[in-house]
Amino acid sequence: MRFLAGALAWLESRSGLGAFIKPLMSHHVPRSATWWYVFGSATLMFFVIQVVTGVCLGTMYAPSAAEAWQSLRYIDKEVPAGWMIRALHGWSSNAMVVMMAIHMLQVFLHASYKYPRELNWITGVCLLLVVLALAFTGQVMRWDQDAYWGLGIGASITDRIPVFGSQIRDLLLGGPIIGGETLNRFYALHVFILPGAAIALVGLHMALIMRHGISEMPRPGAPVRPASYKKEYEERMARDGVPFHPDASQRDMIFCGVCLIALVVVAAIYGPFGPGGEPDPTLIDTNPRPDYPFMWLFGAVSLLPPASETFVMLVTPGVIVLALFLVPFLGNAGERAPSRRPVMVLAAAFAVIAIASLTWEGLASRWSPVMNGWSALPTPAQFVRGRTPLEMQGAVVFQFAQCRNCHALGGSGGQRGPALDDVATRFTPEQLTRQVQQGGGNMPAYGKNLSRAQMDAIVGFLSTLTPSYETPAAIPGAMLPLPISSAEPAPR
């Protein structure tokens, strides 16, 4: 025991580690810093998980376009606990993005970024960008079809930059194609550059927290006055503060512990992300989707009108990042309480609603055709019962001409165009014919591709699509509407 104490004393005398750590643990934090303050710690904890699991994966992953996908399959299926490490890495990355967003929202709503903590906010914004870049490059590491085509989307956006677009694209991809060097480039970013930047920024962020202290809970009528803030804050901390450990750290520990358990449970239940289909670009029967953190972006680029698309895609991210950097300088002093900052609260609400609804739209992807809808989704029974031969044939044309890829019947099919269950209540046969022939309203024109007979049949079928269409009680014997085509009676 005495030997141990001696060894510790020696270590402390040579390294000074204890003297470094002690103020970290014992510095005073405001008594009002309660459960609102745990999200930053949770973000950091998830980052540590990322580093640990990432290093584990680094021992097995083959950063080569020829082998990456196979090595992930190997980790998933052969390596003991390999899939669990991948699942932890994947879910922890999502959790880190979520915790970071909540942390950022809390800091924004409580205006903790005001004097003297402007740099805390700015390093935080830098961390946000680095973490999002880690998430994107992490998706590339899977090197499956989503990764390949996701890179294609990134390349296409880069390509639209004026003047130097294609050069920047080549720089990003490491060549004129998405290939071996592309993966290695993103690998270097994902495991060296971005984690290095993140660790440096986290260190800076923490040093700034130590320098300026944790902000108090905002109170209405207690504005920040830069001239006297620091002195008053230090006086309040000395008088009324509590040591970080254990008064505040216990809450962090409880929250982080719950998060960690939840992470393991979620990872054990839902497993790792991908890898999806093998990265063979000639397998085009694929439906590329980004990971959750970028779903809102996927939704946004789908909903932009083509005319303004390039401008919005290239300029908006810059404007948003600039606005985030400027936040602490736009309102550097004054009231911090949300109740006294209605505009900022509205701005935060707008951002949350915008990202949530765009994510929702991205997940639903109503603009995307159901690529095998025509060959996979049968015409529901209520739409074939009691139809004439021509109308039945119209239903076949409806499938055959891939209408189902964009239009739903009976709740299944594409959502790109309107559902057609009751289209006959909205369109006369003449209007139906014109719409199918000429298209319009984001529908292609089918005029050239459908014969007269096909058009007759499909319009005949569509004209039966009303909620009140009477299904005959028994066939034969019930009266049925005549087909709308000019049926000349054949000679008998």
């Binding site: 049968p378 021509l390 007979a453």
Partner: protein, 232 residues
């Protein structure tokens, strides 16, 4: 100090061992719900493969007895007369009209082997053996005699004034090939009220004979504006 140390170390060792055992049994247990399934795609020709392939590429038109607009394949009636060779030919080259060709060389998604496996798999799934009482491929009969059969057995529902909608609609006849008419006549759509060729129908309590079926299809085809063929 020594007894303290040994007591401490034994406690630590026991705890350590226990937690390692817990970790190994918990984490290495690949029975957790998140563990990636070790099974890869079902092998070609297996029932799962057949169903998955059918669901993706065929079911949109050829579904169950009461749904889908074209001949139901998830129903026995078609398989009683359609031979494997016929199914393979229809899938490979299409059937004129609205059935596309599915062979890769013809622009479709399947290799020849896949088409053969699919035909066999579908029969195992829904078919059974071919009855052999009538050929799956249409050969023309006597249109004049067929006119009489139509008037007696089909016209009450399918004639120009019939209740189930006229078969003689020129647009319908232009869309459907002779082979398509033949297959529809043979298979029927019992769930929708139309009997198969050998089932009771008006004027014919024991259904049609193979000859009558050929005759009546010939007559229906002869009513097509512009005569034979039937292509869109």
């Amino acid at each position: 100090m020594t007894p303290l140390f040994s007591a401490l170390s034994s406690v630590i060792a026991r705890r350590w061992l226990a937690s390692v055992a817990l970790l190994v049994s918990g984490v290495a247990c690949d029975r957790l719900p998140g563990a990636p399934s070790s099974s890869s795609a079902p092998p070609r020709g297996s029932p799962q493969w057949t169903l998955a392939t059918f669901d993706t590429h065929c079911r949109g038109c050829h579904s169950m007895a009461d749904e889908g607009a074209s001949i139901p394949l998830m129903d026995r009636s078609y398989w009683t007369f359609a031979s494997d060779a016929h199914v393979i030919d229809a899938t490979t080259n299409g059937q004129g009209g609205l059935m596309p060709a599915f062979l890769d060389e013809n622009g479709g998604p399947f290799t020849a082997d896949e088409i053969a496996a699919l035909a066999r798999g579908m029969r195992t799934q829904w078919g059974g053996s071919v009855a052999g009482s009538i050929a799956a491929t249409y050969t023309a009969g006597n249109a004049v005699a067929g006119g009489l059969v139509f008037a007696q057995s089909c016209g009450s529902c399918h004639g120009p004034t019939g209740t189930a909608g006229s078969l003689l609609d020129p647009s319908y006849l232009r869309l459907v090939s002779d082979q398509g008419l033949w297959a529809s006549t043979l298979a029927g759509r019992k769930a929708l009220g139309m009997p198969a060729w050998n089932e009771p129908m008006p004027g014919r309590p024991s259904g049609l004979t193979p000859g009558e079926a050929a005759d009546v299809v010939s007559w229906i085809a002869s009513q097509r504006p512009g005569g034979r063929g039937g292509a869109p």
